[in-house]
């Protein structure tokens, strides 16, 4: 790990301003992904701003009937919250499908959104990777790509976003609230928060340098059945090969998002529209522009079958 200076932030505005003034800064909250990457010298900040003292750890009702989730609410507490369990079961289920009990106790709402890909070539510093070292090339496209992306991919990068939580937030139309380095408040729909890789896969979100996430807002509850189904190589504590998160109403209408397939939580309006017609048309719409590799072509069938199981569960 490279040496760094360290400060404990006293206010949100001071944290954002300090981050904008230091060239290579990271905010640290749970730190479970950042410190891992710093040990490998994939992340090499020269300054860390510890934001754990800023509060932002409550879950409150909004006047619109939704919920405001503080950026520093731990994954365990969010998954265990009574209102979330009752009204946003998809979010609880997605959180509980991710990581381990130890990690969920540290990991935060904002940190979960900002975690980096688990593409093996991103982690292997001996290999070219456009995300880790822009312009060096992508080892994954012609490499071992079984776990990697099939849709929204580019010639520069086929990495996936690893978050389970973000799949639920995407299906629930969450909004990410931030403070810009100049102190202005800002809100970004989750649909626009994560970027596609294009030819700049190292730029993963629309956040500016120093922009600070204060929380995530959920709209009023949707009702319906909330189902998150994750398919992985072992039954627990593994990243998704694919996952399907859905909210399905008694009449069969609903919304669906998929994980493990793209650089961001993947949801397509036409797939929501096709949902009442069944898993095959909905998956065809969801993955219409898929560009799988030889190794991960199976993910298309896997999404369809998993969505089929989700729809059956919703009916049951």
């Amino acid at each position: 790990m490279r040496a760094f200076t360290y400060e404990r932030a006293s206010t949100i505005e001071a944290a954002a301003a300090s981050a904008a003034s230091h060239p290579s800064t990271r905010f640290i909250a749970g730190g479970t992904n950042l410190l891992d990457l710093m040990k490998l010298e994939i992340e090499v900040p020269t300054h860390l701003i510890d934001v754990n003292g800023l509060g932002l750890d409550t879950i409150e009702k909004t006047p619109e009937g939704g919920l405001r989730i503080g950026a520093l609410v731990r994954n365990t507490d969010l998954a265990a919250d009574k209102t979330v369990r009752r009204d946003y079961g998809l979010l609880s289920r997605a959180l509980l499908a991710g990581a381990s009990g130890q990690l969920r106790n540290k990991a935060t709402t904002a940190g979960n959104l900002l975690q980096r890909t688990r593409c093996p070539y991103f982690y292997d510093t001996n290999q070219p990777c456009n995300k880790r070292q822009p312009g060096s090339g992508c080892s994954a496209i012609e490499g071992f790509s079984r776990q990697l992306g099939i849709v929204g991919v580019s010639d520069s990068c086929i990495a996936t976003h690893p978050s389970d939580m973000a799949i639920a937030l995407r299906a629930l139309d969450a909004v990410v609230e931030t403070v810009k380095p100049d102190g202005r408040r800002h809100a970004v729909p989750i649909a626009e928060f994560h970027r596609l890789p294009g030819n700049t896969p190292h730029i993963e979100t629309v956040l500016e340098q120093g922009e600070f996430i204060t929380g995530v807002v959920l709209p009023a509850p949707l009702g319906g059945r909330h189902i998150y189904r994750k398919v992985r190589d072992r039954a627990s504590y593994a990243f998704a090969l694919i996952s399907v998160g859905a909210v399905i109403q008694p009449d069969g209408t609903g919304r669906v998002a998929a994980g493990g397939v793209a650089h961001r939580p993947w949801r397509v309006e036409a797939a929501d529209v096709a949902l009442p017609q069944g898993a095959r048309p909905a998956t065809a719409a969801l993955l219409a522009d898929a560009r799988p590799t030889e190794h991960n072509r199976f993910k298309i069938d896997l999404v369809e079958r998993t969505l089929g199981a989700v729809i059956a569960e919703a009916k049951g």
Binding site: F4, G31, S100
Partner: protein, 212 residues
Amino acid sequence: MLNPTQLEISRRNLLITSAAAAAATSALPLSAAAQTSQTETELTSTVAFAVNGERRELNIDNRTTLLDALREHLHLTGTKKGCDHGQCGACTVMVGGRRVNACLTLAIMHEGDEITTIEGLGQPGNLHPMQAAFVKHDGFQCGYCTPGQICSSVAVLEEIKANIPSHVTTDLTAPASASAEEIRERMSGNICRCGAYSNIVDAITDVAGTRA
């Protein structure tokens, strides 16, 4: 023949010597950075927290993980370093009663925290019920993952008591239970390469059942 105590001491000295050599190597980039613009004092911090009820204060390199602070600075070597990347759970300790991977958190981020390690749970002759259950059910072979398994399992039972759900909880609105299936899922962040899992589940189930 060496008696076991001598063997233990010589092995420990060897490890301490190796750690010192590693520390000397890792100090190089630090002094290089100091020559540019930062002074060495900015790259270290003072932190005070309680470990097993005792207040400890350290002035340490900012990079020091809680795990390294416990093992290398406070010489509490019960907490083990396995993967050092949050994948194995051998370093599990409790901070404010909640289990965490000590390898994935910086010591300087724990100002004022209450930390419990395996040494704080129980001692020879005064075992924590979970330690006694692991002995009774033979919940280990080599023993390297055991301190982490025990810290984790003590916290798991508290999490169930606090009605925190898990991936296998059927009804999110019903109270959590301490079934074997729940315990297996909740313990998935603690890897045992010897494969003592079934005995570990027996030990935890035993404690969960007797704790009325």
